[in-house]
């Protein structure tokens, strides 16, 4: 029941927010915060059930393949808790960032609905149900990317929607094929069953588009035109994780990677690492740099998950956790800088360290995690991924991954230098509002804390890995 509430509360709540907007802005904001907090609390309350990994079927089959079946396991609860927590912080930040923009009702409605769909997605035990939530998140992000209704933004939003839908339609075909082959779309029932490789390939294609892996990466950098809290939500915390989550659930936990697929997956991942690293090194739009960085770093997670070894999968998940917090923090920091300097162009910033010291510190701490410098979780995560890939007898890919680490260090350094060091270029700069600063500092502290407290972070991760590789 708790699991059902975890996604119905935010989904219903999102409509309430929309209604509340008709009455008063403060009511809408309050409601949004309350609903997202409630979601987070519900996720926390699911934690005690996670070790048992129980699936429940709540209702009869509505149409062929779609039964309302939920699963509360380590992976789902881990991702749900993480996403709802980050979502909560982002809603807080939005209170400061969005101020009194127009269409705020739409904004909070979409954000809360998005989170609700995410919760539903991670707790689904049925492929078709997953797919429904999957597309719901795509629709929400479509409107959120084009939120400011500027022609260029709308075009980028459409690109994002078209590309992800392109992938997900293939995914749907894959699911239809699995239904045809296996007679069920319930994940727990599918475990260990053999289905056609083509079906799995179609699903894989959908996953790759959703996490913007090369050559389907185009939409993610373009989506950077959205309001900063949205990009944090989309690029760091929730949307791109969906792909990784589905990969872990379907290809690690349910079917296992088919014979001979490991190398192609590795190739996609390392290509993405290099392409993203290279593009991030020459891009001048700070948010786009972070977006490239996101897809590059997600490729590390894929690399780890595709090894199928305990170390690799654990490393991938640990890094996913660290990356989400740190990247959300980075996007929000850039949001503060953008709000104050009215530019995203690295060449037009500089020397902000003295004017915005707290933002700079938060940014630096988060960047350390992404660059994988000890003692952050980024370091441990990447190390474990490299070790895992070596264990899978794929040393050349591990070498490319390590080289990608160098690129990451280089572009993070370039980003930090360009924004905060060097000569001051913009006048009249103010530090962000307290609520925005508090949010980014929480992200910075958390991303550091995950690294320092890596033993206690790895405990639940180990449980998740054990469940996945069972």
């Amino acid at each position: 029941m708790l699991a059902l509430a975890t996604f119905t509360v935010p989904i219903l709540g999102s409509f309430l927010t929309l209604i509340a907007d008709r009455f008063a802005g403060w009511l809408r904001n309050l409601l949004a915060v309350l609903v997202v907090s409630a979601t987070f609390v519900l996720c926390l309350s699911l934690i005690p059930f996670a070790p048992r990994a129980q699936a429940t079927i709540l209702g009869p089959m509505l149409i062929p393949g779609l039964d309302l079946s939920l699963i509360v396991d380590g992976l789902g609860v881990l991702v749900a808790t993480m996403a709802s927590f980050i979502g909560l912080l982002i809603v807080f930040y939005s209170l400061g960032y969005m101020g009194e923009d127009v269409h705020l009702g739409e904004y909070y409605f979409l954000i809360v609905l998005f989170l609700g769909a995410m919760m539903g997605l991670v707790l689904s035990n049925n492929l078709l149900m997953m797919y429904i939530f999957w597309e719901t998140t795509a629709l929400c992000s479509w409107r959120l990317i084009g939120f400011f209704r500027v022609p260029e933004h709308l075009r980028n939003a459409d690109t994002a929607l078209m590309m992800t839908v392109f992938g997900s339609f293939f995914m749907l075909i894959g699911m239809e094929m699995i239904w045809h082959d296996a007679g069920t779309l319930t994940l727990t029932a599918l475990r260990g069953k053999s289905v056609s490789d083509l079906a799995l390939f179609f699903i894989f294609l959908g996953i790759l588009t959703k996490s913007a892996q090369v050559p389907l990466q185009v939409w993610l950098p373009a989506a950077g035109v959205a309001p900063s809290p949205v990009t944090a939500l989309l690029h760091a915390a929730v949307l791109v994780i969906i792909g990784v989550f589905a990969f872990a659930r379907i290809f690690v936990g349910t079917f296992g990677l088919p014979q001979g697929w490991q190398s192609p997956t590795f190739i996609v991942a390392v290509t993405t690492i290099i392409v993203a690293g290279g593009a991030a090194l020459v891009e001048n739009n700070a948010k786009r740099v972070l977006a490239y960085s996101t897809l590059g770093q997600l490729a590390y997670v894929y690399l780890g998950l595709a090894t199928g070894t305990v170390i690799g999968v654990a490393g991938g998940l640990a890094f996913l956790l660290a990356h989400s917090f740190a990247k959300a923090g980075l996007f929000l920091c850039v949001g503060i800088v953008e709000k104050s300097t009215h530019t995203r162009d690295l060449r037009k910033m500089g020397g902000l360290l003295n004017r915005m010291p707290l933002t700079a510190i938060a940014f630096a701490l988060c960047a350390l995690t992404i660059a994988g410098i000890p003692p952050t979780a980024g370091f441990f995560g990447k190390l474990m991924i490299v070790v895992g890939v070596l264990q899978a007898d794929a040393a050349p890919y591990a070498a490319v991954a390590v080289f990608g680490g160098f690129l990451t260090l280089a572009y993070m350094l370039r980003l930090f230098n360009g924004m905060f060091l060097g000569a001051e270029q913009v006048q009249d700069i103010k530090e962000g509002t307290p609520i925005m600063l508090a949010t980014v500092l929480v992200f910075a502290v958390l991303s550091m804390a995950i690294g320092v407290a890596i033993p206690s972070v790895l405990k639940p991760v180990n449980v998740v890995v054990a469940q996945l590789l069972r």
Binding site: I63, G65, L128, I132, E135, T136, L139, G146, R149, V150, P151, L154, D158, M162, V165, F166, F169, L172, I173, E176, M177, W179, H180, V214, P215, Q217, V218, P221, A222, I274, V275, G278, A279, L281, E283, V310, I311, A314, G351, L368, I373, P374, P375, L383, M384, V386, V387, L390, A395, V402, F403, F406, L409, L413, N417, L421, P455, L458, N462, V465
Partner: protein
């Protein structure tokens, strides 16, 4: 007592934390905290030095059953030496910094990073597990970056370069260690020692080399050296003395020593390569030092050059050579520290670092002069000072090892010594001898805080030289005893060849010096017109010493190229990466973006336009409706004829895809709705051949959406008095209800969940499954087209009207 092993890490880190807590402008308490912590650290290190072997293992975390991370600290003799050297040197640097750093803007950053660097250095020296070592090792690089930035904002490029070189090398090291774990199954160094790996197989050599890259970058060995000269002009002097000259050398040689003496068994080839790298580093470094005209740069290149001796000594693989290498590391820390401190004192008093602006300061700054002279002679290997002993041991090691080409290496090393002396003569002359420039007439001796550290170090220089047997016995022998080696000191006067060659090297140095003195006359301006030359215009700066080398053909060209960074590996790597990144960005990333955003939609649009030519008066559309009706009825009536079914399916698919493309380019809202409806009816016709249930469900859901779209579109057109989509900008804000209905109906029709027609499309897809994936792809493809052609008007509606 094992827990005391934590103290050398915890004390400085705590001090760093305290320093950070003190407000930025309050300097004095911070200085005291640093001083007290450094004193405490010296006590702790001395205490640990007297302890026997200690080991502390705290469980950390485990991944699966294979990877056990432990907080594993192990007190080795080499670790003890590193601890004590780092602590003493930190204390001296803090004393010196009292006057040098006070009042600078980044006072807090300086002390925090200084103490942090000390803590992680001790961490490196104590770690017994590679993850732990890497953790401390990489943090050290980060602190170096921060310390360089203390200088000024101008230091940014060189600090970045440093972090990239060191960070990149650290990543190589990480890979090397990971590979080593994969090969040996252990993370612990003591276990690695027990396995004593022969450098025979490829993967092991690869791991060894990758770890070596990390060591070389930290130590500044060619070709990873270029960060040291780069930061030399930007970083504060105490940072130069503390980091590249002391701490980084300590940890680099510590790790190299551990690798060579404990973990790996070197093969003759590897030894030769190490010696070759060492010799090349000596020669290149000193040659570059010789032509510098800025003492900071000169010292930086010496820093590079001297590390070559250490690599050379350790690379010999002989006991005496390794002992010499380690001792030279210790000596160099002392010598380089003293030289940088003295240089800093001169800079502090004169505000100059260039030789052209300096001169004749010996009587103004006698203490600084004396300490510089001692260190200069020491570093050149003049007996009885400290580096004489270490260089001699290294030479002896080369001779003992023998092997092909050892004479060449020996001569290179000795020639390097000669050039060192020669270049220091240039430095002494330029700063302390000769004529004092008019600007510097009022210069006085530096404050005691700036001199005392150098005086202490000078005592070390002389003491280490004279009491070398004791130093070797107490500091170096225990390290080598770990691997069962025994230093047998050949008496000074018995080791004939080395000593004779040494004296010879000094003679060559003197010859160079005298030769250069001769050139003094050439450089003076001739006084021509009978005017009265102003006092001091005869001054000959030392900057032009060895100037002729620069004009020499061959050598001169090479040195010029070196100064321009032609031999800097970093530049090449960076250029390659920049070039590659640009290619990736332009041709892969932007290329794909163009493909998805321009080419594919454009291609569909071209097809649509072509079809539009025929569909001008919608005649083919009406025709299609008729065909739909006929085939629909036929397939319901005669489902037993497969060819009929096939034909119906083909007609339906053509209608779905073709009219989808037509809608893709339609600019009139009403016509768009009609074309969309035509395309959608294809689904129903197709459904009739697959499953009646799916067809019926689609008829319901799709029909509803089409009806809504038509009504909504009509109402919009009527309200706006135009059907052209182009003129519908900003409709979403003006008619939010109509817009919302239109949008939901469009998404509904596109088959996006959670809207109704998704389920019907899914049912159709399931029913089409027996016919293979092509039919499913056409169904999905039409849905995709539907989304595409509806997004276009929606985009218009949403646009803000400016």
């Amino acid at each position: 007592m094992e827990w005391t092993l934590l103290l050398p890490i915890v004390v400085p880190v705590l001090a760093a934390g305290l320093c950070q807590l003190i407000p930025r402008k309050t300097e004095q308490p911070r200085e005291w905290i640093a001083l007290i912590a450094a004193l405490l650290q010296c006590l702790v290190s001395s205490y640990l030095f007297l302890q026997p072997h200690l080991r502390l293992v705290l469980p950390w975390f485990t991944v699966g059953n294979e990877l056990h991370f432990e907080f594993d600290l192990n007190l080795t003799p080499f670790g003890k030496l590193t601890l004590i050297a780092a602590s003493v040197f930190a204390l001296l640097t803090i004393l010196y910094s009292k006057r040098y750093i006070e009042g600078t803007q980044r006072h807090r950053l300086y002390y925090v990073s200084l103490m942090g660097a000390l803590g992680v250095t001790c961490g490196v020296a104590l770690s017994n597990q590679f993850i732990l070592l890497l953790l401390f090792w990489e943090l050290l690089g980060l602190f170096l970056f921060l310390l360089v930035l203390v200088g000024s904002d101008q230091a940014l490029p060189s600090a970045t370069k440093t972090l990239l070189i060191i960070g990149g090398a650290d990543l190589a090291m990480l890979f090397g260690f990971s590979q080593l774990w994969y090969l040996t199954g252990t993370l612990t160094f003591t276990d690695l020692t027990a396995q004593s790996l022969q450098l025979a197989s490829g993967p092991i050599v690869l791991s060894f080399s990758l770890i070596l890259v990390g060591v070389f970058a930290k130590g500044g060995v060619i070709p990873f050296h270029s960060w040291i000269p780069a930061i030399a002009t930007d970083a504060p002097i105490p940072v130069m003395a503390y980091m590249p000259a002391a701490i980084d050398k300590l940890v680099a040689i510590y790790l190299l020593g551990q690798m060579v003496t404990s973990w790996f068994i070197l093969t003759p080839i590897v030894e030769s390569i190490l010696m070759g790298i060492g010799a090349a580093t000596i020669l290149c470094g000193v040659a570059m030092a010789l032509i510098q005209s800025d003492y900071r740069k000169m010292l930086a290149f010496h820093n590079v050059s001297q590390v070559g001796y250490m690599v050379l000594g350790i690379g010999t693989g002989t006991t005496i050579g390794i002992a010499g290498g380690i001792l030279h590391m210790l000596n160099l820390v002392i010598l380089k520290g003293s030289l940088f401190f003295c240089g800093g004192a001169v800079e502090r008093q004169t505000r100059q670092t260039r030789f052209t602006e300096l001169g004749g300061l010996a009587d103004a700054m006698p203490w600084t002069f004396a300490t510089t002279l001692i260190a200069a002679l020491g570093i050149s290997g003049v007996p009885p000072l400290n580096a004489f002993v270490s260089k001699w041991l290294i030479y002896q090691g080369i001779i003992d090892r023998g092997g092909p080409g050892f004479v060449a290496i020996l001569l290179t090393a000795m020639f390097g010594s000669a050039l060192t002396l020669a270049s220091f003569m240039k430095l002494m002359y330029s700063i302390f001898w000769g004529e004092r420039p008019a600007k510097l007439q009022r210069v006085r001796e530096a404050a005691p805080f700036l001199i005392i550290p150098s005086i202490i170090l000078s005592i070390f220089i002389i003491g280490f030289g004279i009491f070398y047997p004791w130093i070797l016995r107490t500091l170096i022998q225990p390290i080598l005893s770990e691997s069962g080696r025994e230093i047998v000191i050949p008496g000074i006067w018995q080791s004939g060849m080395a000593v004779i060659l040494l004296v010879l090297s000094l003679a060559v140095g003197m010859v160079f010096y005298l030769l250069s003195r001769g050139q003094k006359a050439e450089a003076v301006d001739v006084f021509v017109g009978g005017e009265d030359p102003k006092d001091g215009s005869y001054r000959v700066s030392g900057a032009q010493f060895y100037g002729p080398i620069k004009t020499m053909r061959g050598l001169g060209t090479i040195l010029h190229m070196a100064e321009r960074g032609v031999f800097d590996l970093y530049n090449y790597v960076l250029n390659f990466i920049t070039w590659g990144s640009n290619v990736i960005y332009k041709y892969i990333d932007q290329g794909l973006a163009d493909l998805y955003q321009e080419v594919v939609p454009g291609f569909i649009a071209v097809l649509g336009k072509l079809m539009q030519l025929f569909n001008a008066r919608l005649i083919p559309t009406y025709l299609l409706w008729a065909l739909y009706a006929i085939s629909f009825t036929a397939s319901l009536l005669f489902p037993q004829f497969p060819s009929l079914i096939r034909g119906t399916q083909i007609i339906a698919c053509v209608g779905m895809v073709g009219w989808g493309m037509l809608a893709w380019v339609e600019t009139d809202l009403t016509r768009l709705s009609i074309l969309a409806a035509t395309s959608q009816i294809g689904f129903v016709v197709l459904g009739a051949t697959l499953s009646a249930e799916a067809a019926f469900s689609y008829l319901l859901t799709g029909g509803a959406a089409i009806a809504v779209l038509l009504i909504c579109g009509r109402s919009i057109t009527r309200k706006l008095k135009t059907g052209s989509i182009r003129q519908m900008n900003g409709l979403a804000s003006r008619m939010p209800i109509r817009f919302s209905i239109f949008m939901i109906a469009a998404l509904w029709l596109s088959g996006l969940p959670p809207f109704g027609s998704f389920y019907s499309k899914y049912l159709l897809g399931v029913a089409a499954e027996p016919y293979g994936p092509v039919l499913s792809i056409i169904i999905a493809g039409t849905a995709f087209l539907t989304l595409g052609y509806f997004l276009r008007p929606i985009r218009r509606f949403l646009r803000t009207v400016s």
